[in-house]
């Protein structure tokens, strides 16, 4: 199934963060299907290292539950940073915990997605970003 063609031609750079190899492979393919550039890392620590070297990222999509640094902690660090705070951060979780969702949105998350993420979720995200 082909991805929607030519989303205004703008190529976004998306940073995906997930400690699980299966989920990482899946989200990368899902995002890449929309013809954007995707970088995937396995931890929040790695994500911050990468952002330190290349802050030109259009969107960060991160798993919530990760060892060392949760997606929420990563979100906070990004929103506290002058250089990075404008980057939209999307949180993914396999669990539907309303207090968790509220907490992430309050901290500035763009959106909270339930896993497994669907093509329609990603399509919606990109449409919003393009506007």
């Amino acid at each position: 199934m082909a991805a929607p063609a030519g989303d205004c031609g703008r190529v976004l750079h998306v940073l995906a963060v997930d400690d699980n190899s299966v989920d990482r492979a899946f989200i990368v393919r899902l995002l890449a299907n929309f013809r954007h550039r995707v970088t995937a890392v396995e931890s929040g620590v790695r994500a911050l290292e990468l952002l330190g070297m290349d802050p030109d990222v259009s969107m960060i999509i991160t798993d919530y539950w990760m060892p060392e640094m949760t997606g929420f902690e990563l979100l906070k660090r990004i929103k506290e940073s002058k250089e990075l705070k404008k980057i939209p951060v999307v949180i993914m979780s396999s669990e539907n915990v309303p207090t968790r969702i509220t907490m992430c949105l309050k901290e500035g998350a763009e959106e909270f997605l339930l896993k497994p993420v669907q093509q329609s979720d990603v399509s919606r995200l990109f449409s919003r970003l393009m506007r």
Partner: protein
């Protein structure tokens, strides 16, 4: 073997996996839809990652449950991880078995947890052999010059 026969075998096998036996759910369909000419081995690659991930997690679970003092929070976290990847791959029965396991963890019932782990291993082994059989048919179809049917 005749390509059409192989393709029929593939459809039968996949229908059984989805509908009759409940091994796969809609998430697996999403994986198949993400596979195209530019990523012809996507499904096999992700499934292989899952085989490795699940193997590792099942071993870890055995180790955690075998400790003199069992850390049920750790067991719970590990089962959650397996539930997560099983959901991402569309391994419906494995995922559902994880849900039962999580309930046993919450009750701190060690014997029931071992029972769940045993069931989990069985479910995973079955799922793995069914998927491997499916991939074998796919390889035969491609080798015979055919293509996978649209489902």
């Amino acid at each position: 073997m005749d390509v059409r026969l192989l393709q029929r075998q593939w459809v039968d096998h996949i229908s059984a996996l989805f509908f009759r036996e409940g091994f796969l759910d809609a998430q697996f369909t999403q994986l198949q839809q993400l596979q195209d000419a530019s990523t012809p081995d996507f499904v096999v690659e992700v499934v292989t990652l899952y085989f490795e991930d699940a193997d590792r997690l099942l071993n870890n679970l055995w180790n955690t449950l075998s400790q003199p003092v069992v850390d049920f929070k750790k067991v719970d976290a590990q089962v959650h991880q397996l539930k997560g990847s099983s959901a991402s791959i569309g391994a419906q029965r494995v995922k559902n078995t994880c849900v039962c396991f999580i309930n046993c963890c919450e009750e701190g019932d060690l014997e029931a947890c071992f029972g769940c782990l045993h069931r989990l291993k069985l479910e995973f082994t079955q799922w793995k052999s069914k998927l491997e059989a499916l991939f074998r048919i796919e390889q035969q179809i491609v080798a015979a010059g055919g293509s996978l049917p649209m489902i």
